[in-house]
Each structure stands twice: as C-alpha cells, then as structure tokens.
Amino acid sequence: MTTAAGFSLKRQLLLWLLLPQLILWLMGGVLAFRVAMTYAEKAIDQSLTQSVRSLARQVKPFGSGLLVDFPKAAQDILEQDPKDRVSYMVSSPPGSFLLGNSKLPGPPADATPTSSEPVLYNVELDGKTMRVATIDVSFGEGPTQQRMRVQVAKSLSVQESIARELVRDVLFPLLLLGAFMSFLVFAGIQRGLAPLQRLEAQLAHRNAAALSPIEMTQAPEEVHSLATALNQLLTTLRRSLSQEKRFLNDAAHQLRTPLAGLISQTELAMQEKEPEALQRRLAKVHTGAQRSAHLVHQLLSLARTEAEVALLPVDAAALAREVAREWTPRAVAAGVDLGYEGEESLTVPADKLLLREALSNLLDNAIRYAGRGTTVTLRALHRDGQCVLEVEDNGPGLSPSDLQHVFERFWRASEMPGGCGLGLAIVAEIAQRHGGAAIALGAHPQGLLIRLQLRGTL
C-alpha cells in the first residue's frame, strides 16, 4: 500500500467541507456590503430630492430679483450635522453664485435638470465625495424670464459608514455560526473515521502468525465490507500458509528416509572387505541416491504447481505426442509398448510447462509400474467440450480401494523402488490449476487408466 505524501482522509474532508463555508462567508460579506451601499444611496437620494425641492420653493422672484425666504429653522436643518455637512447653493443664471454655504459644480453636460425632477450626481469637493441634487427653475415672464439653479449636496461618507455598520451586523453572527458549524464538521469527521482507526489498531502489531479474522461489530457499511474483504484474504493466507507448512514438514520427513538409507549403506560399504559385497552395497547406494534425486525433483514440481499459472493456447495433442516421443527410449528399454491415439490437434488454454510435467508424470508412472511386456497408450481426445488426456496401461492395475488414494501425496501403491508417492498428486494438482480434474479408473480387462479432464477447448 502506498501513502501519498501529506494525503490524509481527515485533512481532505476538513478542507472540502470547510472551504465552501469560507467562500459562503466571504461572498455574504461582499454581497451584504453592496446591498447596504445601494440602499444607503437610495435613502440619501430621497432626502436630497426632498431638500432641493423645499429649498427651490423658498426662493421666489421678487421684481427683477429674487427673494429667498430662508427661515433660520430651515437653515439649521440644512446645516445640522457638522460631520455630515449639507451644502447648498442657489445660482442665477445657473452657475453664477447667488447664495449658499458652498460652491457646488454643475451637473454633467448630458443631463438637463428640470424644475420637477432633480439630477443626481457625484462630485469631488475638498477631497470628499459629495452627492449633489440639482434642479433648474424658471421665473419671471415673457422676455424677462430667467433661470435659477438650486443645488443641495451631502457627503457620501455617511453612506459608507451606514453600509459598514450593516455588514458588521450581518457578518459577526455569520462568523459565530461558521465557527460552530466547523466544530460540528470536525466532530462528524472524527466520528466517521473512528471505525477506520479501530481497524488500523486491530491490524497493527500483527505478525505473520496472527492471521485470525478481524472483529468488527459496529462499523459503517463501507468499513464493514473492507473488513470482510480483509478477512477473506486472511483466511486464504492462513490456509495456504498451513498447507505450505504441512508440505514442508512432509517433504523433510520424506527426504529423511532415503538419506537414512544412504548413510546406513555407505557405513556398511566402508566396513565391507569383500569386493562383491561392496558392489552390492554400492548398487543400493546408487538406487537410494536416485530415489532422493527423484523425490527432490517431484517436490520442486509440486511447489511449482502452487505458483501462479498463465493459461495460454496450447496444442495438447501435439504436446502429448512430443512428450510420448521423449519417453519412447525409456519405454523401449523397459520393454513397454508405448503409443499415442487421438486427435491430430487439440488446442486448450493451458500452462505448457505444467501440462508437460503432468503428462511426463503419467507416462513415468505407467512405464514404471505396468511392467515388461505391457502396452501403455497416451490419448488426447475431445469429448463433450472438454479436453481429455489419458494414459491407459494393461499392467496389474490397482484394487478399487487403492484407486481412491492414488492422488494423495506420499501415498504409494507398491514398494517398488524409485517412486516417491508424489507423481499422481502432482498430476491432480496440475489438473486443478487448469480448472479440471484427474480421475483414476480400472482398465479392462486389467490395468490402470488415469484421466485428466481440462475445462474448455478452443
């Protein structure tokens, strides 16, 4: 298993759950500020519009001049707040100062103020942003008609302070809520990941010998299925380990016997004075050594059947003939008539090396035990969608009770030298690795037939 540097499930969950909250909070702040600014501007515009209209009504034409009926009270209202200073200016014709407390610039060129609807715009005055409402009023009649401009302005700093206050009022509770939710998220993650930590605690400090299943009583579905999968793996591992241990044990014990024989024979040979007796001892030593060699070879093949197999298309019929040809000189020397019958070609998914080993073992077995003057036939057949490989001999055969044991490891039907009781066990193992089976039958009128059924022909 690999761990990406810095990758933690908890950290990931925290990041992805808290990041949206932070974004929400920031967006909320920006939006609240903008909304507050809009509303504050509207409120200022409304009050300016009212003020400019009222002021315009107070300025009345008087003869050829103007009379400004500006009561002290009204003036006080206009100049009430020194911080939130309200400026006003009356000019006639528009632009030439008549009265007021400040010099205010005119509206933008593209806007034409009327007597009813004021034009509203921003100006910079003494480094401050001011909102200005302007109306133009006509007075006098006929050729003496003149225009008068009335302007009222208010600093926009008011608007900003209102907006800031509003945002503060909204964001502070949101911040508290966010902190509380973050705490909930963190607690939730802790709680959710706890079963994984328990699983880890169960698995840590285990060694190869401790392969008992993991106990998970309370766990969410996902962790449960993970634990179940792990338990299945542990069970398989336990089984294969115990098999291996048993095999190693068996192998060591089986090797002890021929080695003990060898040692006793060589000891005797060293004391032997007579050349002929020495010869006999040496012949026995040779047989014993050959038997050990054969046993080691078979043990290795058995170990190989337990490795991974790669099933590729193999012409089983051609392979069978090839193996039979290799065994022919041995068969001839043993006085056995070895032959092949069956398909010309028969392609099956198989591991060629293992299949060759199985066929070799079958022929070795038959040639070894059938005896001089017998007939051994290897067949590769296509039967009911299966590939059948079989070796039949007309030797002495086995009793029905013995037939049940032929595929057991280290089981031997006779004490004939050379055998180690693994050949047919290997054959059965190889058949299983190919998804098939090996069966032992009596032949007619006598003899032994070992059949390998492999699943799926191509």
């Binding site: 003939r321 040809r325 000189p329 001839v332 070895l338 019958e341």
Partner: protein, 233 residues
C-alpha cells in the same frame, strides 16, 4: 577422442563427471570456477565444454557469453540446478547448445554430449551422416545427394528413401514423427509415381528390407512415428 572441459565447482560432481567421461574415452580437463575456465579456454583448444551455471567468482551465464564472443562454434552443454523455465531460456539465449538439469542420468549426459559433438563435426550439411550398426556394419549417407553406403557398398535409394533415412539416422534412438517426415518430403521435388501421404509405410517397409543384416532396424512407434535403433549385440 575429444578434449572436454568440465567447469563445475562441486568437487564430488566434478570428480564423478571427470571419471565417467574419461571412462567413455574422452580426454578431460576441469576447472572449478569461471575465471579458471576462461584462462584455460584462452590457452587450450577444446572440442566441447560442460558448464555449470551456478559458479563462484564469474557465474556460468557470464562465462557462456564470454565463450560465445570468442569461440562461437564451441559446443557448450549447460548444467543447472535450477529448473525454472526462465533459467533455461536464459541459458539457451546466452548460447548454450543443450542443457541438463541436476541431478541427471549419466547415460543421458553421454548421449547429449555425443549428439552435440556429432553436430559440431558436421557443420551445416558439410559432412556425411554416419552410424555404426551392430556387427560393425557402417551406414553412411551423403548430406546432399540421395546416396548411401552400407559397409561401403552403394545402396539403391530413391530421393524420398534417402531423406527419410537421413532423418532417422540423424535422430538415432529417438522417435521421428510422421509429420516431421511429411514436412521434409513436402519441401522436396515430388517423386514420380508417389505422392499419397500413406505411402510412408511403404517407404519404411522398403527401407527395412534394405537395412536387413545391417544391425540397424526401424521401430514403428504406435501413433508417434518411427525410430532407428541399433540391434542388441
């Protein structure tokens, strides 16, 4: 008599091999590791090398590659204790002519060695195929022309009879499959009056007659093919 080099680090096995090969009539030298083998190969001419793959100092595969760079035609028989398919492929890829897995049958080793020496003395159809039957009768076949001699008496052989007999002699004591014979025949010009594949039996029958009293006989191996055997003395 051939001069053989045995490279094997296990003393028991090296000693046994030397003794057996000397008894079989070879001139035998031995080396205990790769470095010694290389220095011997540099100074002496050998007919074949029997090489263990698991050697100390310089391992067998490295020695094999070294040999192939200098002495391309020298036959090498590899001995290995590992029998995994990868090891075999590695050995053969590195240039072994043949291999045997330990432990092996001495008779098997002698037969493989003999075959290897025979092949190396017959570079690509250069020499005659020759086999000594029982009763000291000698069968010789020309490698290119349908000619054969039994004890220096010319044999009457058709082209197909000659190619079948060549196959059998080249694989003395081993089974030659029907398909192998037919494949060889197919690559040759057709003989008048024949052509059917079941004629193989007819040819074998004719050859058997011609090999009478030669000490050699052709065995029919059921469903597998034919095998040339030396009659027991």
């Amino acid at each position: 008599m051939s001069h053989l080099l045995i490279v094997e680090d296990d003393e028991l096995l090296r000693d046994g091999l030397c003794a057996q090969l000397m008894r079989a009539g070879h001139n035998v030298s031995s080396a205990v590791d790769g470095a010694q083998a290389q220095s011997m190969l540099e100074t002496t001419r050998f007919d074949a090398v029997i090489l263990d793959l698991g050697l100390p100092v310089i391992d067998g595969v490295a020695v094999l590659k070294w040999i192939r760079q200098r002495l391309a035609a020298l036959p090498v028989l590899v001995l290995t204790a590992r029998d995994g398919i990868e090891d075999r492929v590695q050995g053969l890829n590195a240039g072994a002519d043949d291999y045997l897995t330990k432990p092996f049958d001495m008779a098997e080793l002698l037969a493989r060695l003999q075959a290897m020496l025979r092949r190396s003395r017959m570079p690509a159809f250069g020499g005659t195929l020759e086999v000594q039957g029982a009763a000291n009768k000698r069968l010789r076949l020309d490698p290119n022309l349908p000619l054969g001699w039994l004890d220096d008496e010319p044999m009457e052989l058709t082209r197909r009879e000659w190619s079948l007999l060549s196959l059998l002699v080249g694989n003395l004591g081993q089974v030659v499959g029907r398909e192998d014979v037919l494949a060889v025949w197919q690559s040759e010009p057709t003989e008048t009056g024949t052509g059917a594949s079941n004629a193989l039996e007819v040819y074998v029958h004719r050859l058997r007659r011609k090999l009478q009293d030669s000490g050699l006989s052709i065995r029919n191996v059921r469903g597998l093919g034919y095998m040339l055997e030396m009659d027991p003395p």
